[in-house]
Protein backbone atom coordinates (compact mmCIF):
# COMPACT_ATOMS: atom_id res chain seq x y z
CA UNK A 1 0.00 0.00 0.00
CA UNK A 2 1.35 3.40 -0.91
CA UNK A 3 2.04 6.00 1.78
CA UNK A 4 -0.71 8.18 0.27
CA UNK A 5 -3.34 5.49 0.82
CA UNK A 6 -2.08 5.00 4.40
CA UNK A 7 -2.32 8.75 4.98
CA UNK A 8 -5.85 8.80 3.53
CA UNK A 9 -6.81 6.11 6.06
CA UNK A 10 -5.25 8.14 8.90
CA UNK A 11 -7.07 11.28 7.68
CA UNK A 12 -10.41 9.46 7.46
CA UNK A 13 -10.08 7.71 10.83
CA UNK A 14 -9.01 10.86 12.69
CA UNK A 15 -11.67 12.98 10.97
CA UNK A 16 -14.54 10.55 11.49
CA UNK A 17 -13.32 9.61 14.98
CA UNK A 18 -13.19 13.30 15.89
CA UNK A 19 -16.67 13.94 14.49
CA UNK A 20 -18.02 10.97 16.42
CA UNK A 21 -16.45 12.23 19.65
CA UNK A 22 -17.98 15.68 19.05
CA UNK A 23 -21.35 14.08 18.18
CA UNK A 24 -21.23 12.08 21.40
CA UNK A 25 -20.28 15.19 23.36
CA UNK A 26 -23.02 17.32 21.78
CA UNK A 27 -25.68 14.66 22.45
CA UNK A 28 -24.70 14.44 26.11
CA UNK A 29 -24.73 18.25 26.34
CA UNK A 30 -28.31 18.31 25.04
CA UNK A 31 -30.10 20.75 22.76
CA UNK A 32 -30.05 24.50 23.25
CA UNK A 33 -33.23 25.50 25.13
CA UNK A 34 -34.02 28.14 22.54
CA UNK A 35 -32.41 29.77 19.52
CA UNK A 36 -31.88 33.01 21.44
CA UNK A 37 -28.40 34.47 22.01
CA UNK A 38 -28.46 33.76 25.76
CA UNK A 39 -29.58 30.14 25.46
CA UNK A 40 -27.09 29.58 22.63
CA UNK A 41 -24.24 31.06 24.69
CA UNK A 42 -25.14 28.76 27.61
CA UNK A 43 -25.26 25.82 25.17
CA UNK A 44 -21.80 26.62 23.75
CA UNK A 45 -20.49 27.07 27.30
CA UNK A 46 -21.69 23.56 28.19
CA UNK A 47 -20.21 22.13 24.97
CA UNK A 48 -16.82 23.74 25.68
CA UNK A 49 -16.74 22.08 29.12
CA UNK A 50 -17.29 18.63 27.60
CA UNK A 51 -14.22 16.40 27.51
CA UNK A 52 -15.55 14.70 24.39
CA UNK A 53 -15.53 18.02 22.55
CA UNK A 54 -11.85 18.57 23.39
CA UNK A 55 -11.05 15.00 22.32
CA UNK A 56 -12.80 15.46 18.99
CA UNK A 57 -11.51 18.91 18.05
CA UNK A 58 -7.76 18.02 17.83
CA UNK A 59 -8.65 14.91 15.82
CA UNK A 60 -10.64 16.97 13.30
CA UNK A 61 -7.77 19.50 13.12
CA UNK A 62 -5.26 16.69 12.55
CA UNK A 63 -7.49 15.33 9.78
CA UNK A 64 -7.54 18.73 8.04
CA UNK A 65 -3.74 19.05 8.27
CA UNK A 66 -3.37 15.54 6.77
CA UNK A 67 -5.70 16.67 3.93
CA UNK A 68 -3.27 19.52 3.20
CA UNK A 69 -0.28 17.14 3.27
CA UNK A 70 -2.09 14.78 0.87
CA UNK A 71 -2.97 17.66 -1.46
CA UNK A 72 0.72 18.57 -1.59
CA UNK A 73 1.49 15.05 -2.87
CA UNK A 74 -1.48 13.90 -4.94
CA UNK A 75 -4.00 15.30 -7.45
CA UNK A 76 -7.16 16.71 -5.87
CA UNK A 77 -9.16 14.32 -8.10
CA UNK A 78 -7.52 11.49 -6.11
CA UNK A 79 -7.66 12.94 -2.59
CA UNK A 80 -11.28 14.15 -2.40
CA UNK A 81 -12.95 11.01 -3.87
CA UNK A 82 -10.78 8.89 -1.53
CA UNK A 83 -12.00 10.94 1.44
CA UNK A 84 -15.49 9.50 0.77
CA UNK A 85 -14.19 6.54 2.84
CA UNK A 86 -15.42 8.69 5.74
CA UNK A 87 -18.97 7.50 4.94
CA UNK A 88 -17.82 3.90 5.40
CA UNK A 89 -16.06 4.57 8.70
CA UNK A 90 -19.00 6.74 9.79
CA UNK A 91 -21.54 3.98 9.10
CA UNK A 92 -19.58 1.41 11.15
CA UNK A 93 -18.71 3.91 13.86
CA UNK A 94 -22.31 5.14 14.07
CA UNK A 95 -23.57 1.58 14.42
CA UNK A 96 -21.00 0.22 16.90
CA UNK A 97 -20.03 3.29 18.94
CA UNK A 98 -23.06 5.57 18.83
CA UNK A 99 -25.75 2.86 18.62
CA UNK A 100 -27.30 4.31 15.45
CA UNK A 101 -29.44 2.22 13.15
CA UNK A 102 -27.96 1.61 9.68
CA UNK A 103 -30.44 0.32 7.11
CA UNK A 104 -29.84 -1.97 4.09
CA UNK A 105 -29.78 0.92 1.57
CA UNK A 106 -26.95 2.57 3.49
CA UNK A 107 -24.95 -0.68 3.62
CA UNK A 108 -25.28 -1.02 -0.18
CA UNK A 109 -24.10 2.59 -0.49
CA UNK A 110 -21.16 1.81 1.80
CA UNK A 111 -20.21 -1.20 -0.37
CA UNK A 112 -20.36 0.95 -3.54
CA UNK A 113 -18.15 3.63 -1.93
CA UNK A 114 -15.64 0.89 -0.97
CA UNK A 115 -15.55 -0.49 -4.51
CA UNK A 116 -15.13 3.03 -5.97
CA UNK A 117 -12.35 3.89 -3.52
CA UNK A 118 -10.55 0.65 -4.42
CA UNK A 119 -10.70 1.64 -8.11
CA UNK A 120 -9.43 5.19 -7.41
CA UNK A 121 -6.66 3.89 -5.14
CA UNK A 122 -5.31 1.49 -7.74
CA UNK A 123 -5.82 3.66 -10.86
Amino acid sequence: MSRSVLLVLLMVFSGTGGEMAITHGMKSVGEPEALRPRALAAFFGRALRSGWFWTGLPLVALSFYLLLVLLSWEPVSFVIPMSALGYVVGAFGGKYFLGEEVGPARWIGVALVCAGVALVATA
Binding site: Y65, I80, A105, V113, G116, V120, A121, T122
Partner: protein, 137 residues
Protein backbone atom coordinates in the same frame (compact mmCIF):
# COMPACT_ATOMS: atom_id res chain seq x y z
CA UNK B 1 -38.60 20.63 -4.29
CA UNK B 2 -38.06 24.31 -3.70
CA UNK B 3 -35.89 26.60 -5.76
CA UNK B 4 -34.14 28.01 -2.70
CA UNK B 5 -33.17 24.51 -1.53
CA UNK B 6 -31.71 23.70 -4.95
CA UNK B 7 -29.86 27.02 -4.93
CA UNK B 8 -28.45 26.23 -1.46
CA UNK B 9 -27.31 22.74 -2.52
CA UNK B 10 -25.62 24.27 -5.58
CA UNK B 11 -23.96 26.89 -3.35
CA UNK B 12 -22.72 24.04 -1.14
CA UNK B 13 -21.17 22.27 -4.15
CA UNK B 14 -19.57 25.46 -5.50
CA UNK B 15 -18.11 26.37 -2.08
CA UNK B 16 -16.77 22.83 -1.50
CA UNK B 17 -15.17 22.51 -4.92
CA UNK B 18 -13.76 26.04 -4.95
CA UNK B 19 -12.27 25.44 -1.51
CA UNK B 20 -10.70 22.12 -2.52
CA UNK B 21 -9.24 23.55 -5.75
CA UNK B 22 -7.83 26.61 -3.92
CA UNK B 23 -6.25 24.35 -1.27
CA UNK B 24 -4.77 22.11 -3.96
CA UNK B 25 -3.19 25.12 -5.69
CA UNK B 26 -1.90 26.46 -2.39
CA UNK B 27 -0.30 23.13 -1.46
CA UNK B 28 1.18 22.78 -4.93
CA UNK B 29 2.80 26.20 -4.42
CA UNK B 30 4.09 25.18 -0.97
CA UNK B 31 5.49 21.96 -2.45
CA UNK B 32 5.45 18.30 -1.40
CA UNK B 33 5.44 18.01 2.39
CA UNK B 34 8.35 15.98 3.74
CA UNK B 35 7.36 13.20 6.16
CA UNK B 36 9.66 14.09 9.01
CA UNK B 37 9.17 16.07 12.22
CA UNK B 38 11.04 19.03 10.73
CA UNK B 39 9.29 18.73 7.36
CA UNK B 40 5.82 18.56 8.93
CA UNK B 41 6.56 21.51 11.21
CA UNK B 42 7.90 23.56 8.28
CA UNK B 43 4.80 22.76 6.20
CA UNK B 44 2.53 23.61 9.14
CA UNK B 45 4.05 27.10 9.42
CA UNK B 46 3.95 27.50 5.63
CA UNK B 47 0.21 26.71 5.53
CA UNK B 48 -0.51 29.10 8.43
CA UNK B 49 1.03 32.07 6.60
CA UNK B 50 -0.21 31.21 3.09
CA UNK B 51 -3.20 33.48 2.32
CA UNK B 52 -4.72 30.98 -0.17
CA UNK B 53 -4.98 28.36 2.56
CA UNK B 54 -7.17 30.75 4.57
CA UNK B 55 -9.20 31.55 1.46
CA UNK B 56 -9.74 27.81 0.96
CA UNK B 57 -10.77 27.39 4.61
CA UNK B 58 -13.22 30.30 4.19
CA UNK B 59 -14.76 28.58 1.14
CA UNK B 60 -15.07 25.31 3.08
CA UNK B 61 -16.74 27.23 5.93
CA UNK B 62 -19.19 28.59 3.33
CA UNK B 63 -19.81 25.01 2.22
CA UNK B 64 -20.53 23.97 5.82
CA UNK B 65 -22.91 26.92 6.30
CA UNK B 66 -24.86 26.21 3.10
CA UNK B 67 -24.93 22.47 3.93
CA UNK B 68 -26.44 23.22 7.36
CA UNK B 69 -28.93 25.66 5.83
CA UNK B 70 -29.94 23.15 3.13
CA UNK B 71 -30.39 20.48 5.83
CA UNK B 72 -32.65 22.79 7.82
CA UNK B 73 -34.91 23.15 4.75
CA UNK B 74 -34.78 19.65 3.25
CA UNK B 75 -34.14 16.04 4.21
CA UNK B 76 -30.68 14.52 4.33
CA UNK B 77 -31.76 12.13 1.54
CA UNK B 78 -32.47 15.16 -0.65
CA UNK B 79 -29.23 17.02 0.10
CA UNK B 80 -26.82 14.06 -0.15
CA UNK B 81 -27.23 13.32 -3.88
CA UNK B 82 -26.15 16.96 -4.32
CA UNK B 83 -22.94 16.09 -2.49
CA UNK B 84 -22.47 13.12 -4.81
CA UNK B 85 -22.94 15.33 -7.88
CA UNK B 86 -20.31 17.64 -6.36
CA UNK B 87 -17.71 14.84 -6.51
CA UNK B 88 -18.23 14.44 -10.27
CA UNK B 89 -17.98 18.21 -10.77
CA UNK B 90 -14.83 18.33 -8.62
CA UNK B 91 -13.14 15.65 -10.72
CA UNK B 92 -14.21 17.48 -13.87
CA UNK B 93 -12.94 20.87 -12.61
CA UNK B 94 -9.63 19.32 -11.50
CA UNK B 95 -9.18 18.11 -15.09
CA UNK B 96 -10.30 21.41 -16.66
CA UNK B 97 -8.87 24.08 -14.32
CA UNK B 98 -5.82 22.32 -12.86
CA UNK B 99 -4.95 20.18 -15.91
CA UNK B 100 -5.00 17.00 -13.84
CA UNK B 101 -4.86 13.81 -15.87
CA UNK B 102 -7.80 11.64 -14.75
CA UNK B 103 -7.35 8.01 -15.87
CA UNK B 104 -10.46 6.12 -16.96
CA UNK B 105 -10.24 3.82 -13.94
CA UNK B 106 -10.34 6.82 -11.58
CA UNK B 107 -13.44 8.12 -13.37
CA UNK B 108 -15.09 4.73 -12.93
CA UNK B 109 -14.19 4.79 -9.23
CA UNK B 110 -15.55 8.34 -8.80
CA UNK B 111 -18.86 7.33 -10.40
CA UNK B 112 -19.17 4.29 -8.09
CA UNK B 113 -18.39 6.48 -5.07
CA UNK B 114 -21.09 8.94 -6.21
CA UNK B 115 -23.69 6.21 -6.51
CA UNK B 116 -22.68 5.01 -3.05
CA UNK B 117 -22.85 8.48 -1.46
CA UNK B 118 -26.27 9.11 -3.05
CA UNK B 119 -27.50 5.78 -1.66
CA UNK B 120 -26.05 6.43 1.81
CA UNK B 121 -28.29 9.50 1.91
CA UNK B 122 -31.42 7.48 1.19
CA UNK B 123 -31.63 6.14 4.73
CA UNK B 124 -33.72 8.29 7.02
CA UNK B 125 -31.80 9.15 10.19
CA UNK B 126 -33.29 6.95 12.91
CA UNK B 127 -32.96 9.72 15.47
CA UNK B 128 -35.56 11.78 13.61
CA UNK B 129 -38.89 11.36 15.36
CA UNK B 130 -42.11 11.42 13.37
CA UNK B 131 -42.46 12.25 9.70
CA UNK B 132 -40.04 14.71 8.15
CA UNK B 133 -41.61 17.98 7.05
CA UNK B 134 -42.45 18.18 3.37
CA UNK B 135 -43.06 14.47 2.91
CA UNK B 136 -41.77 12.28 0.15
CA UNK B 137 -42.99 10.76 -3.15
Amino acid sequence: MRAKTIAMVLAMIVFANTGDLILKRAMAAIGPVELSAAGLARAFIATLVHPSVWLGILALAGCMASYMTALSWADYSYVMPGGALGLVLLTLSAAVFLDEAVPLQRWAGVLLICAGVALVGQTRPSTTHGQPAGGEQ
